[in-house]
């Protein structure tokens, strides 16, 4: 119905009949509007600036803005500023991290966990992506992808609780194990690095799967067939053809998963135990504690951010070097 009305209005405007033009028709016939459009689109550079203005504003206000504000807070000695307190700039918050070794353990633990979990996610999702891209018919691929996407329609916390239900002492896994007499008493899966790993791999798998699927889907089947004709076995074909040609997908997926893993907070809190405290929990602690601890939390967050970026850059460099051996 709405569509019919719009078509009718458009027709009337285009036809320029006796009926009164609607808003857009009147606007396009308005002199100042014409002049403005002429000035704004006079050159390709102006067109580019107009098109880029909104994305740039978005990135500045929503992405860079909060991070710059966090960085600014990290250089102060008090935030929020209490009445009668003078705020000064200082590097003490950064010195605190490097001067106190108790903060190093959760910091390095986070980086190691993130690296290990990224590798596990790659190992688990690569065969899934391979199967999906190479062995599922094109018409069924979307359905398959949709099935994989369904758990991601709900939030991180809900999916984390699902893992808790699965791995708890009275959870599904222990229920199966005890019902079939495989164990006498429930295995304490929860609140360990194992439960935390399962949770993080589950939560990040999609970010690995999609780049891998995209890379594998572009891989021409003829290459593998030619290699097979020349006598290459399955492992050799994978090692010499599939793997090198999907290195970009691996690189993108690993980068995404690693960066996301370093920032997880709720999942380690809910699934982790006393020996799995990650740096995000340490940072959060500074924001929870009443007092002038926000600058320290902000400094620690900046350090984590910088470290994650450095590692990612190094990783990209390695992957780039590996790509040089790409048979393409």
């Amino acid at each position: 119905m709405t569509q019919n009305v719009s078509s009718e209005q458009t027709t009337r405007n285009i036809g320029g009949g006796n009926s009164t033009p609607v808003f857009w028709g009147r606007l396009s016939g308005w002199g100042p509007y014409h002049a403005l459009v002429r000035v704004a689109t006079a050159s390709p550079r102006r067109q580019f600036l107009i098109l880029a203005a909104f994305p740039i504003l978005w990135v500045l206000s929503q992405h860079l803005g909060p991070m710059l504000q966090m960085f600014r807070v990290s250089l102060t000695d008090a935030y929020p500023v209490a009445p009668g307190v003078e705020q000064n700039f200082t590097l003490d918050n950064y010195v605190r991290f490097f001067g106190d070794s108790i903060f190093w353990m959760p910091f390095f633990r986070t980086l190691i966990f993130a690296g290990v979990f990224t590798f596990c996610t790659l190992l688990i999702t690569y065969p899934v992506a391979y199967f999906l891209a190479r062995h599922v018919s094109r018409k069924n691929q979307m359905l398959f992808l949709l099935l994989l996407l369904i758990p991601f329609w709900v939030g991180e916390i809900v999916r984390t609780y699902a893992i808790m239900i699965l791995l708890g002492n009275t959870g599904a896994v222990n229920l199966v194990l005890t019902t079939f007499g495989l164990v006498d008493r429930p295995i304490p899966f929860m609140y360990t690095s194992f439960s935390m790993g399962v949770g993080i791999v589950y939560l990040t798998s999609l970010y690995m799967l999609l780049p891998l699927y995209s890379a594998l889907e572009k891989l021409p089947k003829s290459m593998n067939e030619a290699a097979a004709d020349l006598g290459a076995g399955a492992w050799t074909r994978f090692r010499r053809i599939s793997l090198p040609l999907t290195i970009e997908g691996i690189s993108s997926g690993c980068t995404l998963v690693f960066l996301i893993s370093t920032g997880f907070y709720a999942t380690p809190v809910l699934l982790g135990g006393p020996s799995t405290t990650v740096f995000a929990e340490t940072i959060a602690g500074f924001f929870h504690v009443a007092g002038d601890q926000w600058p320290t939390g902000a400094a620690f967050a900046t350090i984590m951010f910088a470290a994650a970026l450095l590692i990612t850059a190094a990783f990209q460099k390695i992957m780039s070097a590996l790509r040089k051996g790409d048979p393409r």
Partner: protein, 369 residues
């Protein structure tokens, strides 16, 4: 069994709703939306009975906006960030944290003359030494809680639960949980020290040495604990899933489990423990201060509302006569034998600056160890 619990829950909710509606003061109903506007409240889950809230909104036309909090520190930081123009009118501060909020000029003194129902609060709470600071009252006590040792009665005996030592026993390796920050105070008490640190205000070296001892104790026993947790809901979930059978907790979440029929017991162990009182406070420069006073006066109006708060949260009501409106089980889950109560002392705020400057880094060290 689960069906029974569900039916029982529904019954309790209905009963609580009916009680609270009946308990609503007549003047609120007569007001019939004469006033309007809103009141913004930061509080813990279940601290404002839903039925009371609906009735208050219907009778006064004041919309109640609740933002849930789970930590005193977060509340402090949020409020500090918003001053001098806060969005909140009423917040929920524990009595032993008053000083910090007052020193930062975040709270307005409470004008008890504007609360006709002030006398409905048990004077044990409203007239305690911590309740009056600089000659002013700063909050209306609503619920009282304590640090207890909770145990699954199918696995742990009450005798075992009469000492904090059981929490660190090999017998319950990987079946225990506690909040580290709170346990620091309890461990200091276990070791025979003043967990409030008031005794060491003039001797910072001694204070540092005591915190170091408590920290080392918790690090040494770290392999035995299953989980360091933060919220009452986490504790309840671990107990229900039988991930733990023994743990330090606040009495509120434990009592809520008992009222749901879970085989849980709780004690104030022989070494002692700490109690605290939650209060409703009015923020400095509150945007809707008049509505805040109306809300406070309404919620203090009758012991049935206090009982409804206890039923929902599990914490002990500070209202006179609230226990008359509790069932036998609810009364049992919110009361302790006299000999155990004798082991209880309240958290104090005088040495908080000294205490938390030492305890906070110790907590980080324990987590990192």
């Amino acid at each position: 069994m689960s069906k029974l619990i569900l039916n029982r829950r529904r019954f309790l909710h209905s009963a609580a709703a009916t009680s609270a509606v009946l308990a609503s003061p007549m003047y609120i109903r007569r007001a019939s939306a004469q006033s309007s506007g809103e009141v913004n409240i930061w509080t813990y889950n279940d601290f404002v009975p839903e039925s009371f809230q609906k009735q208050f909104e219907a009778d006064t036309g004041i919309k109640v906006n609740i933002r849930l909090v789970d930590d005193q520190g977060k509340q402090f930081n949020l409020l500090a960030a918003e001053q001098p123009n806060p969005t909140v009118d009423i917040m929920t501060v524990a009595g032993h944290r008053f000083l910090q909020f007052i020193d930062s000029q975040l709270l307005a003194p409470l004008d008890t003359d504007r609360l006709s129902n002030w006398n409905n609060i048990n004077p044990t709470f409203s007239e305690s030494d911590w309740a009056t600071i600089n000659g002013n009252k700063w909050g209306a006590p609503i619920l009282s809680g304590m640090e207890v040792l909770s145990y699954n009665t199918d696995f742990v005996t009450q005798e075992e639960a009469m000492t904090w030592d059981t929490l660190f026993s090999e017998d319950y390796r990987n079946q225990t949980a506690y909040i580290i920050q709170d346990m620091m105070s309890v461990v200091m008490l276990m070791m025979g020290y003043d967990g409030n640190m008031v005794e060491y205000m003039d001797d910072p070296e001694k204070a540092a040495q005591i915190v170091e001892e408590a920290k080392n104790f918790l690090i040494e026993h770290k392999p035995l604990v299953r989980k360091y947790y933060d919220s009452g809901a986490e504790f309840q979930q671990m107990m229900v899933n039988q991930d733990i059978v023994l743990g330090h907790s606040w009495n509120g979440p434990a009592a809520a489990l008992i009222n749901d029929g879970f085989p849980l017991g709780m004690t104030i162990p022989n070494e002692g423990s700490y109690g605290f009182v939650y209060t409703y406070n009015i923020a400095n420069n509150a945007p809707n201060a008049d509505n805040a006073y109306k809300f406070l006066d309404a919620i203090l109006a009758s012991p049935e509302i206090g009982a409804a708060m206890t039923k929902a949260s599990g914490f002990i009501s500070t209202y006179k006569g609230a226990d008359q409106y509790l069932s036998e089980l609810e009364r049992k889950s919110t009361s302790f034998p006299e000999e155990q109560l004798a082991n209880l002392q309240f958290f104090r705020a005088e040495a908080n600056d000294l205490k938390y400057s030492l305890v906070d880094p110790a907590v980080e060290a324990i987590k990192a160890a």
